[in-house]
Symmetry: C2
Amino acid sequence: MGDRPTLQDVARAARVSTATVSRVLNTPGQVRVETRARVEAAIARLGYLPHFGGRALALNRTNTVGVVIPTMANAIFARGLQALQETLAEAEINLLIATSGYDVAREAEQIRTLLSRSVDGIVLIGEARPRESYDLLNSHGTPFVILWTWRADSPYICVGFDNRAAARAMAEHVISAGHRRIAMISGLTESNDRAQLRLEGVRDALHLHGLALDGAHLAETPYGLDQGAEAAAHLLMLPQRPTAILCGNDVLAAGAIEGARRAGFVVPADVSIVGFDDVELARVAQPPLTTVHVPHRRMGHEGARVLLEMISDQGPGHSVELETEIVDRASLGRLPQPQSA
Amino acid sequence: MGDRPTLQDVARAARVSTATVSRVLNTPGQVRVETRARVEAAIARLGYLPHFGGRALALNRTNTVGVVIPTMANAIFARGLQALQETLAEAEINLLIATSGYDVAREAEQIRTLLSRSVDGIVLIGEARPRESYDLLNSHGTPFVILWTWRADSPYICVGFDNRAAARAMAEHVISAGHRRIAMISGLTESNDRAQLRLEGVRDALHLHGLALDGAHLAETPYGLDQGAEAAAHLLMLPQRPTAILCGNDVLAAGAIEGARRAGFVVPADVSIVGFDDVELARVAQPPLTTVHVPHRRMGHEGARVLLEMISDQGPGHSVELETEIVDRASLGRLPQPQSA
DNA sequence: TTGTAAGCGTTATCAC
DNA sequence: GTGATAACGCTTACAA
């Protein structure tokens, strides 16, 4: 006990060579039935399990895909991962998960670790990272795909959606509901391209309608229920009180609803609040959140599929653009159209 | 590109032996400064990263801990994992995450995979699994800890809480609020000891008060918002309509609130609904859920700590019982005490 | 159909 | 301080 049996041990027990045991494991067809039976019996009796390190060394393949996500605490990443894993599991591939805590230096470190482990492929979130990380990835020739974002002219293989366009569409939606005094609670934008793009998308739409997001009406805060609540309370104290608050994700939005309620405002009668992501929280919040539905499961499945292709075909891979969709629930209210634009 | 540099390559480039390069990497103090500088330059220039497989073979250690959870789609596991990972990361240990989908056979398979990868330790959820899995674990001598459950007489190292006692306490709480017609929406109990224990705990408390949970008042369903809603709608159609519904977790409870509302009932005026876990959903639901707070972050941190001890000291490890706590929010209403028991 | 033996990239035990 | 060299467990020509 404690001393793990090796191929040698199995070979001895079955009175064959290690090569034969290896064949039983990998190409059982090449072994005579009786020999095979003897070997299999020995394997079972000893509780033998192949040694991954030895195999990795001999094969230069690990059947492992690595992924670096910002955090597992955000349900949307966890759920995307679940989908990713389901598809990888079908190909008998395991997932090595690392987190960066939204910190680029930590992410770079995690990428090194994954490469060091000879993962067959890597999944990353978003495009924003130092050149060195991309260089390292390329010099090792390890295929990688980027999730949660998609741009027409991205030099990388992306399986995701256009954050900017999606946010712009949501802002348009809010504007066409009659809102003019609009505020935003954004996630931290530093080295988070999804947050940046969503903010830009909102700005795009406002600009198109001759509106703007002045500093006072933009709150930037880490994702969290409390942070959303606090930001909303603050925005609602402003002299030019917003009639609608766009949030960088559903957690912030759910928090914002709570903050608004505590400050004595009724959603959406007094203030409209919309989210982004469409997680369970959006459906449970009261009023239920009008939000942008992100196809997180499809993203996971497609991402896995594309990466698997790159791994087996050694091909360049291809990006996939996924569609988002505005889910109209009840947190967005309609305002009478103002007389003058 | 594509062909990863090895220790040999670095050694050649730095005009030293592989042994010296290895020393620079592992025990830099033993190498003369100038030699070290030369080697480090070569490492940087070549973009060398140690080969994990080779190292695993030579060291018989992988700096990896494996964990098998039912699913990442449930936020509570994802969050527990996040905490687990934070503590492991401090010890430079990586997490290999596998999911079982609440299926014991798949879990057994995943345990084999983890052992095959020579993980230094394993984290499992709950105690319910076939003897063979435990035998395999023991025969390999790989330390493991069990999370999410704790029993005084468990033969395993557990870092968790007493699910039965916690559920009993919640049921007592509901009873002492005056409820007598009580129903439960449980998660699937087959090979899920947490779900079983929570159900038993509720039964314990009811029994103590001369009450019982007849078949009609017990719904067993997979975790999910829709499942909770459906189960609640069904229970509320019963002739002996329950005044309180205990749920196996917060997702079911949040769904139940939705189901009750859609069926025209007001929570908690018409029916009280309580949950278990205390995830974000509980706070966001309207009315906010009265639920059992599970210290998922502490569980992750403590679990990691205990496992790390077992790995380094080779000691037997020790279980840790964590306390749960009832969080009173607004989904539990008080009923006038009935005249007769 | 089976066995022999080289090689995968690292670390560790020796000498020097 | 540094260099040979023998493990570590596995796969895979090549031989038999």
